[in-house]
Structure formats: C-alpha cells, structure tokens
C-alpha cells in the first residue's frame, strides 16, 4: 500500500503511551464529550430515530447486495454528465491513477478536501513522492499537515491537539499568525493562510460522502465550505470514492444525510451539502473543466464475500468512536491504522492484515455502545468477535495466551476444581486489598498500572448461592 499508515502492530506500546499522556486525555475528552452530548440532544428531538436507523441499514444492505448493478448505473450516468470514471482494485492502483491525472494536468499544487479514503490509500504520501504540492484545506487536516501527523479521528482529525498546541503551531508556520490567544483568532489565521492557496491550486481532490447512482452525482458535506473552495476554482476535480458509497437516488441520499450529521456532530445538517454532476457546462462562469471519479475497491469486494458486508453500511460519522470507552481513553493514534475506534478495529484487519492488527479487536470491552449509536446499525461487537475467533483459528495469538486459555478451559469444565480454584483466588485477592481496592496484583500489572481493582466480596457467587439454597 502506498504510504501505508503506521502498522497496527505495537498497539499495546502505543496504548501505554497514550494512557500516560494527560494532555491527550483532556483534548480527546473536550471534543468527544461535546459530540456525545450534542448527538443525544439531536436524536431526542428526531421523531422515531430508531426506525430511521433501521431504514438506513436496509438501504445500505440493498445497495451492497446489488453493488455491481448500482456501480454500472452510476458509471453510465456520471459519464453521460461529462465525468470520466476510473476503477482501482487496490490503493496503489488508485494512487497511480490520481498521480497520472495530476501529471497530465501539469499540476504543481493540489487542494485537498478531507477524505478518509484518501488517507486509506496513502494519497498524501503518493503526492509527496510525485513532487506535487498538497494543500489540506479542512482546518483540522491543515493542523495535522503542519504538525506532520496523521488524523486521530475521522470527523475531527486534530482532536488530539489542544488549543495551546494549535496556537504554537500556527505561530511557527503561518505567514501572518494570530495575536489574540482565542480559537476564533486561530481560525482566522488559517483562513488567511489557506484562501490564496486554495484559489491557486491546479487540481482539487475530494472524497465523496455519497455517489448517487441514478444521476451520476457525487456528494460532499462540510461545515467549513472548504470542499467548494477547493473543488470549484481548479481546472481539474478528482474524486476518490469507495465503491460502497453508492445510494440509489437523491431521496435515499436525503435519508442518509438526516442521520449523518446528527450522528456525527449533533447538527440537523452540515452547513454545506453539495452534489456535483460532471464538469463545467457551456456558459458556466466557474467550475472545473475536467471531472474524474476514481472508484476504489481496496478490500471492499472481499469484505462482501468474507462475512463483513454489514461493515460496508458505514457512513463514516464517527459516533462509534465518540461513544467508545476505549477510544476516549487512548485517542485515535494508538490504533495505528487509518481508521480508529470500533469501526477502525473492524476495518484495519481488512486493510493491514489480521496478523498486524489482531490486538485491535481485543481492545474492546464489548459494552455494545458503538452498536447502540451507529446510524446504520452495524453490529460492531459481533464483527469484532468474528476477528477474535479468526485470529484464534489461525493461531495468531501468542503461545502463552493459548496455553493460559487452554488451562482455564480445562479447569472450567471441571466444576468442583473450578470452584475450589476461584475460592482460593478470592481469598488471596482479599489479602492483597485495602479499603475496598487492590492497588497491585501479580500477573495483572496491565490493569493495576492505570486503575485499581475492586476487592472481591468475602464469598464467591457460588458460595452465596449454595448458602441461600440451604436455608
């Protein structure tokens, strides 16, 4: 994969570092906490949000079941509107197509509107390798481009940065940086910095939130308006989109859009929702002269065949990570892949390989919160459990874990031995506890380094059960 993100290996080391980073915790909590609260208000105000989720899931399942039909329909309509449609099996093929198009346009600089698919295929790296200047126009992407970092969230890529860190970055890198230490002044500094760069770009590159099959339109949603400012002035507009982004028609897109913004930010709709159908028309005063749409597979057809079709419902709202107790503790970078949080833990094994990323499906408490808030009802805990089972079947777990679980299974199938063992363990743990908590525990340092463990009750459940029955 071109410019693949840091491998999802060494997850435990990254998670340890993230847990020890108090500033990161503050930054993640400020944004994710706000998003969680706003979503709750928006969902309460929407009549029958649960039925809307069921409908959205059914629409996406219908599309995934008939994906070939809809892709061909989209291609025919986009072509009729004057766009050129390209197909890419892999990330490398997609990058090669984009770079060839940029070179054909003699592009020195491209303006990019935030696209997670672009990150997934390693497009920033491919552009750099080709010597093509890249201007990230979404404010958060601009921040992380200046910091030379990767996104840590799919909606708020700079979620891990505090205002103090952003301020220092802009003062070091902007030509006319802010003077007042306010977030508004920092945003104004970025506006000054980016506007001329957007207007001077040779090519605009975007993703697509939706591809509309019956018209050949692509849809982008932003709150900043940076997509429109990045895609209208340049001579060439290139879209990279995953093949699962298709919806049959505009009314279907309307339904999905009602759920997308509410789930992502708690707004009824994003400030700017734009449907682009082909390039500039005769007489138009603005717009690109060429429009290219790169339809990217990169593992999606395999997901459909391998029992992960439900994951292709994902509309990239980020609600699952905003509500994930693990993400809220460690932030997005610890996951190591392009996509963080619960949806990332399902997707990263597809993109980077299960061997590299088998720790991610294990970094889940299975509390089900992600599934509860997902606007398209993806059964994320079930899919994560599927990866755990596959990892076990393929022998990817370390020998120590396999031996430990084997021993546990052997004991657990011998109830008398099991009860005797747990009874002894409870008594031993009570000796280690003080004032209701255990601060250190042999063989459980991974737990007690960051949190205390509750001291167990004086008797096991089975002891108490027997006593109650004996009365």
């Amino acid at each position: 994969m071109s410019g693949a993100p840091a491998e999802a290996t060494r997850f435990k080391a990254r998670a340890d570092a993230a847990l020890a980073d108090r500033i990161l915790k503050v930054a993640v909590e400020r944004t994710a906490g706000t998003a969680e609260a706003k979503r709750a208000v928006a969902v309460d105000a929407f009549p029958d949000f649960q039925a809307a989720r069921t409908r959205a899931a059914a629409i996406k399942d219908h599309v995934v079941a008939h994906l070939g039909h809809y892709l061909e329909q989209f291609e025919a309509n986009a072509t009729a509107a004057g766009a050129k449609v390209h197909w890419a099996r892999t990330a490398d093929e997609a990058c090669d197509i984009v770079i060839a198009l940029c070179k054909a346009a003699k592009a020195k600089s491209v303006a990019r509107s935030k696209s997670m698919l672009g990150e997934e295929i390693g497009l920033p790296h491919a552009l750099a390798e080709a010597g093509i200047g890249r201007v990230e126009t979404d404010l958060a992407e601009h921040i992380i481009q200046l910091a030379d970092e990767r996104p840590s969230h799919i909606i708020w890529p700079a979620m891990h940065k505090t205002r103090e860190q952003v301020s220092a970055l802009f003062k070091a890198k902007h030509r006319l940086p802010h003077e007042e230490e306010t977030i508004a002044a920092m945003a104004e500094s970025a506006r000054r910095e980016l506007r001329t760069q957007m207007l001077g770009a040779d090519v605009g590159i975007s993703g697509a939130n939706f591809l509309i099959a019956d018209s050949g339109a692509i849809c982008t949603v932003t709150n900043e308006g940076n997509a429109e400012l990045s895609l209208v002035p340049p001579r060439v507009h290139i879209v990279t989109a995953g093949i699962e982004k298709i919806v049959p028609s505009m009314p279907h897109a309307v339904h999905m859009l009602r759920l997308l913004a509410r789930s992502a930010t708690g707004a009824a709709l994003t400030q700017y929702t734009t449907f682009y159908t082909g390039p500039k028309r005769p007489g138009d005063r603005d717009g690109p002269e060429e429009m290219h749409i790169v339809l990217v597979d990169n593992g999606r057809t395999r997901m459909r065949e391998d029992g992960l079709a439900e994951m292709l419902r994902c509309i990239r709202c980020g609600a699952c990570m905003n509500h994930c107790v693990v993400f809220r503790q460690i932030g997005g970078h610890a996951y190591g892949g392009t996509y963080p949080g619960p949806m990332g833990a399902v997707l990263t094994p597809v993109l980077d390989g299960l061997k590299q990323s088998r720790d991610l499906p294990n970094a889940c408490t299975m509390n089900g919160k992600c599934q509860e808030v997902c606007p398209v009802r993806i059964p994320l805990p079930t899919l994560l459990r599927g990866w755990r089972e596959k990892s076990w079947r393929e022998g990817l777990e370390p020998q120590s874990l396999r031996a430990g679980l084997g021993l546990w299974a052997w004991v657990a199938t011998r109830p008398r031995l099991y009860r005797m063992g747990t009874g002894m363990a409870v008594r031993a743990m009570r000796l280690l506890g003080s004032k209701g908590w255990i601060r250190t525990l042999p063989l459980a340092g991974g737990w007690t380094t960051y949190r205390d463990m509750p001291k167990p009750a004086a008797q096991t459940f089975m002891d108490q059960y027997r006593k109650e029955r004996g009365r």
């Binding site: 979404d138 921040i143 508004a184 209208v232 700017y272 929702t273 159908t277 028309r281 057809t301």
Partner: protein, 212 residues
C-alpha cells in the same frame, strides 16, 4: 482483466428481483423532523434563527424593494455599498443606483447576493443550482452572503430540494455560515467562507413570473 472487469466480476448479481421496485419500497414514509405545513414560513424562520444556522432576515413585498433592503443590511454592518451580483436578469433589472456592482468575486469579497430556488423549513436550508446566471464561487468567497428567497418557494422537507430530471453541474444546500469545531470542538464562524448569512424574503413574485 482490467480493474473494472475484475471488480464487477466479483459483484455479479444473479437475483431476478426488480431492483428499482425494491429501492423505491425502501423509502416508504420517511422518518423526518416534524414541520407544521400550515406554518411553513414560521418554521423556516425558526430554523434560520438557531445557533447552528444563525442567519438574519428581512422582508420585502416586491423585488423593487430589494436594493433598499440590501443597503439597509450593508449599512448596518458598516460595509460599503459594493456588491457581487450574478448575471441573473431578475436581479440586474433592479435599480442599483448608489451601489458599486461587479460580477466576479474577489478573493476577499465583502458581500455577494444570490437567489435561492428553495428554502427548506425542516433545516433552514437554502437551495441553489449553478447555471450561466448563477455562479457558485461568490457564495463561498464572500464574507456576507445575502440571499433572496421567495416566500412561495419555502418547502417543508428536504425531499423537495432536488430538481427532477437532468441535474445541473452543482446542486447545493447552504444551512448556515462557514463554521468549524476543529479546535477542541469549539464552534467558530467564518472558517473559510461566509461569516454572515442574511436572507431577504420576497413576499411577491419575480417580474417575469408576474407577467406570465
């Protein structure tokens, strides 16, 4: 086998169901926010005033009053009477004496005016399409975005936003001003595009429509 054939070969669909009928059936009666269709204008104005949209508005009876309404707004904002005006005959037919008009937006454009084809009460959205008379860029470059909307064009729900039939190059919905929450989730107006949105409601008709 090229990439297109390789991808489509893995997506073969042997079912004999009528896909279009199934897709239409999935829409049914959509779940959507409640809108009192007897009070659609009031519902629209209530959404315009929400902090997430934060647009101001004014009222005029006839399009002849439009320049005065624009002047009122610009004067109140302390802006010069300079305006980026698209080449739309419904706008250029007004008396713009006292205004400095231009058609191409400057990179630091202060004020631009456009006509919205629809307003949507459900969200407070304004609906636009591109055409030779309706460029897109001025509506994103400008600091003050002024929008003329006929009261008769306010519709309750987003389903009424798209045009039927062949689509224009760009069809776009504007629901507030350019904003960002990218730094610590704190909302800031005017991230890249307009910082102010002002809607002028036209109670009457456009001239050519009156003559029909």
């Amino acid at each position: 086998m090229n990439a297109r054939e390789a991808i489509l070969s893995r997506l073969k669909d042997d079912s004999d169901i009528d896909i279009a009928t199934e897709a239409a059936a999935l829409l049914g009666t959509p779940e959507r926010p409640a809108v009192d269709i007897a009070q659609v204008e009031a519902e629209f104005l209530a959404r315009l005033a929400l902090p997430s949209v934060s647009a101001s508005h004014d009222d005029i009876e006839t399009i002849e009053e439009l320049p005065a309404a624009v002047a009122r707004y610009l004067d109140a904002q302390g802006e010069a009477r300079a305006l980026c005006l698209p080449p739309d005959p419904r706008l250029s037919g007004c008396d713009w004496s006292g205004f400095a008009l231009h058609q191409d937006a400057a990179p630091d454009e202060a004020a631009a005016l456009a006509i919205a084809r629809k307003g949507i009460a459900e969200t407070g959205s304004l609906i636009f399409e591109t055409s030779p008379q309706a460029p897109m860029l001025p509506n994103f470059l400008t600091l003050h975005h002024l929008v003329l909307l006929r009261v008769a064009d306010i519709a309750p729900w987003l389903e009424e936003a798209p045009l039927a039939g062949p689509q224009p190059r760009a069809h776009y919905w504007i629901t507030g001003v350019s904003g960002t929450t990218d730094i610590e989730g704190t909302y800031v107006r005017g991230a890249h595009g307009p910082r102010f949105l002002h809607v002028i409601l036209l109670r009457g008709d456009f001239p050519h429509m009156s003559e029909q």
